[in-house]
């Protein structure tokens, strides 16, 4: 019995955008079984997870702060994957971005105006990440070096370079004299702190009449400008990829380098550009980590302590968002929430912290398989249309076109 004639393309058009959501719910269901096996009550556990992530203003702020680097790396991944290059060097690019912002902040004279100082440091972090990504891009375009290998190797180089610099050149002179010699810089001058946006939000709430004149809702949180920047950049990347000629070329090269070359596009340059921009956005994520959260660079705990693994998790967020910069926004928030909520889950329900990693892994597996399922279905539709007469194209094509 063939079911294809009963399948309704309209139905799938409704379901498809929500697929990651269903996949997440399915993953949480499997997670619930695991919690039961560990003698924990899944309902209590998931309530803890939710409250940890969204239960209070502080929780929401924490989630958004964690989501910021994921989003920045993620939209960079959207560019590189759409451009047909696989950038797994987000970690290294974040680190060099963070180092560049830190080094510049330590060097700039105190008299620099705060706005200029911030702008310069953010630009430096972007530039450093772009160079780091661009190296891999140039190696791929001109020497045929596989970008997966080169970006991974560049991650290692960045980590050890960071350790070297923080033990020597950049180390806080005071700490350098101490016996313990903690490998970290001094706290950066206050003018290099990204503005906190809590008070602005409160002003907005007051203006809308949501709270009384003396209430403080967000002002006490650590929420900084980073998330606003990241969301604006996500929109900008969307416009870049789909509304500009450069974005068009990046997508063309990603989908079919041969046809692109035939059409007169300088393919190699666009391979470099995709990795350059992708690396730049990851570098910016590193800069914002320094200026918004850490306010110093530290080599303690290695690279992961600084990046929080965002260089890799950002890839997941981007894939979760179907490599669409706008889709990556909710995806990053979701993963930020899982990371933040996981801490509370661990404290309240007394399960090992590894469980959160397992949960995230489950979400990834379910989302990726649902995506594969969706694509297989789309391909089947194409086969179907090939068989159909050309002058009466089936409706399903038009459905696909609308996507």
């Amino acid at each position: 019995m063939d079911l294809s004639s009963f399948r309704n393309p309209r139905l799938y058009r409704l379901i498809d955008p929500l697929l990651p959501l269903f996949a997440t719910l399915a993953a949480l269901l499997v997670g619930a079984v695991m919690l039961l096996l560990m003698n924990a009550n899944p309902i209590t556990a998931y309530r803890a997870l939710y409250e940890g992530a969204f239960g209070s203003k502080n929780a929401v702020a924490d989630t958004l702060i964690k989501a910021t680097p994921l989003l920045l790396v993620g939209i960079g991944i959207c560019i590189s994957f759409r451009g047909g290059v696989i950038n797994v060097g987000g970690e290294g690019q974040m680190i060099v971005g963070g180092l560049a912002a830190t080094a510049l902040a330590l060097e700039l004279p105190e008299t620099t105006s705060p706005a200029l100082a911030l702008l310069l440091c953010l630009a430096a972090s972007f530039a450093a990440g772009a160079i780091w990504g661009g190296i891999a891009g140039a190696l791929k375009a001109y020497f045929k070096v596989n970008e997966i290998l080169s970006t991974i190797m560049l991650n290692q180089i960045a980590i050890y370079w960071m350790i070297y610099l923080l033990n020597n050149t950049l180390i806080d002179p005071l700490k350098a004299q101490q016996a313990s010699r903690i490998p970290e810089t001094a706290r950066l001058p206050r003018q290099f702190d990204l503005p906190r946006i809590g008070e602005w939000l409160d002003t907005l709430y007051k203006w809308l009449g949501l709270v009384g004149p003396d209430d403080k809702l967000w002002a006490t949180t650590l929420l900084h400008l980073g998330i606003v920047l990241a969301v604006i950049l996500a929109i900008a990347v969307y416009i870049f990829l789909w509304r500009t000629t450069i974005g068009y070329r990046i997508r063309a090269v990603g989908k079919n380098p041969r046809a692109s070359r035939y059409a007169g596009i300088r393919v190699k340059r666009y391979v470099v550009l995709s990795l350059l921009l992708s690396g730049g956005l990851a570098g910016l994520a590193g800069g914002i980590q320094v200026m918004g959260v850490r306010h110093r660079m530290s080599a303690e705990g290695g690279g992961i302590a600084f990046t929080g693994n965002a260089g890799f998790n950002g890839i997941v967020a981007a894939l979760f968002g179907q490599l669409h910069p706008i889709g990556t926004i909710p995806a990053s928030v979701l993963f930020g929430a899982l990371l933040v909520g996981g801490n509370k889950l661990q404290r309240d329900v007394q399960v090992p912290s590894a469980l959160i990693t397992v949960l995230i892994g489950l979400v990834i597996i379910f989302v990726v398989s649902s995506e594969l399922w969706r694509r297989r279905r789309a391909r089947r539709r194409v086969i179907v249309t090939e068989a159909g007469p050309p002058d009466r194209p089936p409706e399903s094509q038009a459905m696909e076109a609308g996507r």
């Binding site: 063939d2 004639s5 509304r243 000629t245 179907v384 050309p390 076109a401």
Partner: protein
Amino acid sequence: MTSNGAPHTLPTGHARIDHMEMKGIVKRFPGVLAANQVDFDVRTGEVHALLGENGAGKSTLMKILYGMYQPDAGQITIDGKVASIHSPADAIRQGIGMIHQHFMLVPSLTVAENVALGMPSSRAPMLDLDVVSERIVQLAKTYGLQVDPECPVWQLAVGEQQRIEIIKALYRGAALLILDEPTAVLTPQEVDDLFVTLRQMTADGHALIFISHKLHEVLNISDRITVLRDGCVVGSVPAQGATKSGLARMMVGRDVVFQYKRDEVQTGDVLLRVEDLTAQSDRGTPALRAVSFDVHAGEILGLAGVSGNGQRELAQVIFGLRSATGGKVWLGSQDVTNKEPDTLNALGMSYIPEERMLDGVITDFTVAENVILQEHGQAPCSRGRLFLNPRAILQRSSELIRAFDIKTPNANTPIKSLSGGNIQKLILARELRRKPRVLIAAQPTRGVDIGATEYIHQCLLDQRAQGTATLLISEDLDEIMALSDRIAVLYEGTVVGIVDRKDANVEQLGLMMAGVRADAAS
């Protein structure tokens, strides 16, 4: 032929299929009736051709027979018994084999390894390649095929690879063989060789289904011809007494022109000049050895030749996709040797690539996105070179869709859901819209249905009348003869001769394609 009295087993040792019947086959895809109450049958010892334009339902019907699709209604009987075929494995078990248009061979493996692939070994778990090789040689001898079982497949020419596919099917015991457009990739000589093999097979009691849209081949090889259109059988006729025009009318549903309207055009200056051009193939062997020719304004120079004699490399070198190791390419008075495609585009050269799905379009893009492949950075498609102008892009796409009668729901349809003929029309539309001074058309109608072929040919002739210099590269001699003013023949990377169309005949060109020089061949 020999349906009566022949032994019930084939020379391969497998059982014969005396009569396979498909009755009332219906296959529905969302929005399309791909097969509508189709009856089709084939008997031992005959070639039954299945004729139809792209999308008429030929492939769907054969995929049902080969177990790749399940019919919604209807049944298949083999020798009077109902056959249930749920997968290609089922089909193979019941003696049905299929040669696909795109070969299913592993290039890095040898012939014997490819044939043995997926078959149980007589010495499991060890391979029995020597046994397989012996059997291959035996089969090859029976059917007059030249095959070296030890040779890696990637070293074989296309025609040889097809022989391997046939042997693979015979090895697996095919008594009924489906050949899906087997001649699409072959040269005239290779087609002749294939037909000798096919005749030998039918004489031995095989049943063959031959899918094609080339009328003269179908008339040449088949015993019966069934024509499909829009999923329905239009008619079934004996090949004896059938005519090309009659079959074409059945296929297309209207009369088809085989003679084109070609005006006498006064040829002008030389617009494309190739001088002692040399280049290497992908493997680093010489592909072009001092190729020289001129193409004038208002002229079509046909470049004939057996596939793999440097045609692909020549087109690529002229269009800047492969570097010339020597010689010059002139566009008008300008030296454009080894210039990038974007420069050549700007200077008025257009290229219709041979591999349209790989080079001509980006299959994941929409029709509109493919229309602007070259000109997305220029007004009006872009504003200020940086931003795309969706409205202008849509307008241009709609114009081309209308002007070239491209069958697509709208400009935002993904291009991969269009038929091959319509994709080729879109490429042609895109390239001709720029009013090229020089046009390189490589295999412009390969795999394209009759209706679109007719249309594309007329476009090329109209372009000629407007003074474009056209280099038409084709392996289809009929096409070359119908369109060209002069014909050059390429053999092992050199031009063996250039003859006027008026003085050319197929025999002479055939000899030249085999490397005999023009003066000796005439």
